[in-house]
């Protein structure tokens, strides 16, 4: 495959997308791809909307993904999936957690949290796979494993052997959390 593929990981600052991008980076690098991972540190991390770009292919140039370019959007939060939807290719795939975190304009009552976002995103032609990652993570043993649940679900759409995912997890997850994360991965994958 020579064409560069694009994965966006989006969420709310503090939700822990770092491990997800590390895992993907390791997986793709070991598979022999050129890889770039880009994120922004600093003020936006204080509860703001955050995005990580993961790009892979034979040779990757730009570190960022632009509108209409993403093959996959992996979202930790529902509103964020909708926010970044314009970055998805018209036939792209969204994998999203259905958790909702109110942003400040909703908290203060200035704006409403939009309803039925999964249906509305599907109506645009996007393929949307929505699941309750928080419940699955808790089932695996920790609410912090939402990222791995999402990766498990994403593995459905990636042409990558199961062992490669396992190897990447073994390399990136601390040993004492490995079993719990493997369980989270399976729960996401089979959800």
């Amino acid at each position: 495959m020579s064409e560069t593929k694009n994965v966006m990981i989006v969420g709310v600052g503090g939700q822990g997308s770092l491990l997800a991008s590390k895992l993907l980076g390791k997986l793709l690098l070991d598979a022999g791809y050129d890889v770039k991972v880009s994120e922004v540190h600093g003020m936006s991390q204080r509860g703001g909307s955050v995005v990580t770009y993961v790009r892979y292919g034979e040779k990757v140039y730009s570190p960022v993904i632009d509108k209409g370019e993403a093959d996959y959007i992996v979202s930790f939060e529902l509103l964020e999936a909708a926010r970044w939807l314009p970055y998805l290719k018209k036939d792209g795939q969204i994998v999203t957690n259905i958790q909702q975190i109110d942003p400040m304009p909703v908290i203060t009552g200035a704006q409403e949290y939009p309803t039925d976002l999964v249906e509305k995103m599907k109506a645009t032609g996007a393929k949307v796979d929505a699941l309750d990652c928080l419940a699955l993570a808790e089932q695996a043993g920790s609410s912090k494993a939402v990222n791995i649940v999402l990766m498990g679900r994403l593995s459905h759409y990636f042409n990558m052997p199961e062992e490669a995912w396992q190897k990447a997890m073994e390399a990136m997850v601390p040993a004492k959390f490995l079993e719990m994360n493997k369980k989270a991965f399976e729960l996401g994958k089979n959800a």
């Binding site: 140039y61 730009s62 509108k67 909708a82 314009p86």
Partner: protein, 580 residues
């Protein structure tokens, strides 16, 4: 070994491999990780300095003693360190000196969008610009070579997308050059007029030699492709150009942006039909081309503001721009907010309630300007709150005193608030300064500073006593308050504003995100008691929202700070802590 590495970490790896022995920096997004990663190598002495000027001068001292040294900062930090930089250009170095400056086009975490290349040109020092992690590592090593071969400090300019992107690097072993002996050399190192006059021609000659070097060294390279369009570019812009055009255009990729390779540029221009410069922010390469008499396009089709991207280039060059779909609903913005339990919240609520004019500073607490707290009137640069309140109060001729305060964080106060405080103490304006002491440098991700008692490695270090410092400067009124205690905050603000002499309030409570901070059990709302008055909403806590007309606490965010409890007139907030 091939690995995926953050640009800033690759830069640090380059420092390590080049045998750098001394690092002194001040944190600033997006430069911070260069120093944090360097500090993970036991072979390199690393420290956080109180500010960038001190860091650069410390690095200069290390160079004098014959070691390769480094200092890192963000773009606005180089303004602070401009003074030593411009004269270090004259003295040159002993051990090599490399300076990292990280620009923030797009202002992801900055107060302006200045282009640091101007500093390199004005200070007449070479500037290298990597376009990915691999180059960040390689260029760090080349920079030391240039520094020592040409007797000059070298600036390496990063930008957000190079600093905070991971790409593939190959590492090698560390090689430490032998310490260069320090030799007394008054004409070279003592910059008084008679000596500086003789050093200036050396600087001009050095630039000429560096330009010659840049023509042939390989740091700049030509990638010939289609010749209808020739693009001169650098840094992350190079990546966007290659992404959009591949080999359909010819590219002159500049790794050294000061001085520019004039022969190479003219030669490249002669081989292409249309010459375009693709550079973020200011038209520096473009203007240089124009000065060489070349016909060139650039800022006529590309913006002066913000970051570039592949779609921006596609649009500017008349190519098809991809687009996606969107849902019809308006998506509410999700701006950054003060964290739940942030110790600054109670203080800003108090200032807003007392209708204070608040001259602010640089840090997380700049978020005190956001609704509903809306408590800050001005934010300019590091330290400006303390300096500006003095001018504001004196020129106000009595109209501003008693209702104006300056707010500044502990790290920012150490950086450049102390000199402003000295001015208040010396010239005696009736000003009230509030030091927001959260016992860490918060915004940049928890770096230690001279007030925390720990160094960059987390080991115990000297600890500056803020109260004693303010008293030693001559302040009689210095008091400490807990910002979780709204009554105490209100009393402190009212009393110090009423006093007829300068005062300092230290609002002290560690950042709620610090690992050692123990949180209370989350609060919950007793919906039988809650009357839906929304009093608690006035503090802008992200853990509190209104659902079905009643307040609700998000237990995953709440740290039990109790500020909302103090806002509630009907005692609806209750602890979830189970009684033993």
């Amino acid at each position: 070994m091939k690995e995926l590495m953050l640009g800033n970490k690759a830069f640090a790896r380059g420092l390590y491999e080049a045998g750098c022995c001394f690092v002194s920096s001040y944190p600033g997004t997006p430069s911070t990780e260069v120093t944090e990663e360097a500090a993970k190598y036991d072979e390199i002495y690393c420290e956080w300095a109180p500010n960038e000027k001190v860091a650069m001068e410390a690095a200069f001292g290390a160079s004098l003693s014959g070691r390769r040294s480094f200092c890192g900062m963000k773009h606005v930090g180089l303004n602070v360190a401009a003074d030593p930089l411009y004269t270090m250009s004259y003295t040159g170095v002993n051990g090599g000196v490399v300076i990292c400056v990280a620009d923030d086009a797009g202002m992801h975490s900055s107060q302006n969008e200045q282009d640091s290349r101007h500093h390199a040109i004005a200070a007449k020092v070479p500037m290298l610009e990597p376009s990915d992690s691999k180059e960040a590592l390689e260029f760090a090593k080349i920079a030391y070579q240039i520094s020592e071969d040409f007797d000059t400090p070298v600036i390496m300019k990063m930008c957000t997308r190079v600093a905070h992107s991971q790409s593939v690097v190959e590492t090698s072993e560390r090689v430490v050059p032998e310490r260069k002996a320090y030799e007394k050399n008054i004409p070279k190192y003592v910059m008084m007029p008679g000596n500086a006059i003789r050093r200036h021609p050396f600087v001009e000659e050095r630039t000429r030699k560096l330009r010659e070097w840049s023509e042939t060294s390989g740091i700049n390279r030509v990638e010939m492709g289609g010749t209808a369009i020739g693009i001169i570019t650098h840094s992350t812009s190079y990546q966007y150009v290659k992404e959009v055009f591949g080999d359909s255009v010819s590219v002159l990729k500049l790794g050294m942006v000061n001085p520019l390779p004039e022969k190479m540029i003219k030669d490249f221009a002669s081989k292409v039909e249309k010459l375009v410069v693709v550079e973020e922010l200011d038209p520096i390469i473009e203007n240089h081309c124009k000065a060489l008499g070349l016909t060139v396009s650039g800022k006529d089709i590309l913006p002066l503001e913000g970051e570039f991207s592949q779609n921006m280039l596609r649009g500017a060059f008349g190519k098809e721009v991809p687009s996606g779909n969107a849902v019809e609903d308006t998506i509410p913005m999700r701006p950054p907010v003060m964290c739940a339990g942030c110790p600054h919240r109670g203080l800003f609520y108090t200032l807003n309630k007392n209708k204070c004019t608040v001259l602010g500073d640089i840090g997380c607490y700049t978020l005190g300007a956001v609704a509903p707290l809306s408590a800050i009137d001005m934010t300019l640069c590091m330290g400006a709150s303390v300096s500006a309140i003095h001018g504001y109060n004196i020129a106000g001729e009595g109209a501003n005193e008693g209702k104006t305060v300056a707010v500044i964080g502990d790290s920012t106060f150490m950086h450049s608030g102390m000199t402003g405080l000295a001015n208040i103490a010396y010239n005696q304006s009736n000003s009230t300064v509030i030091i927001l002491d959260n016992s860490i440098t918060g915004m940049t991700g928890h770096q230690q500073n001279p007030t925390t008692g720990y160094n960059i490695k987390g080991d115990p270090a000297g600890k500056i006593d803020l109260e004693a410092l303010c008293r030693a400067m001559g302040f009689n009124r210095v008091r400490v308050v807990d910002p979780y205690d709204l009554k105490a905050c209100d009393a402190a603000v009212k009393e110090e504003l009423a006093a007829n002499e300068p005062s300092v309030i230290i609002s002290r409570r560690p950042c709620a995100l610090l690992k050692y901070v123990k949180h209370n059990a989350p609060l919950t709302v007793n919906t039988d008691k809650c009357v839906g008055c929304k009093s608690c909403m006035r503090i802008g806590c992200p853990a509190i929202s209104i659902k079905d007309g009643k307040a609700r606490v998000d237990a995953t965010l709440c740290v039990g700070c109790g500020v909302c409890e103090q806002m509630c007139g009907v005692k609806a907030f209750e602890s979830t802590k189970k009684d033993n």
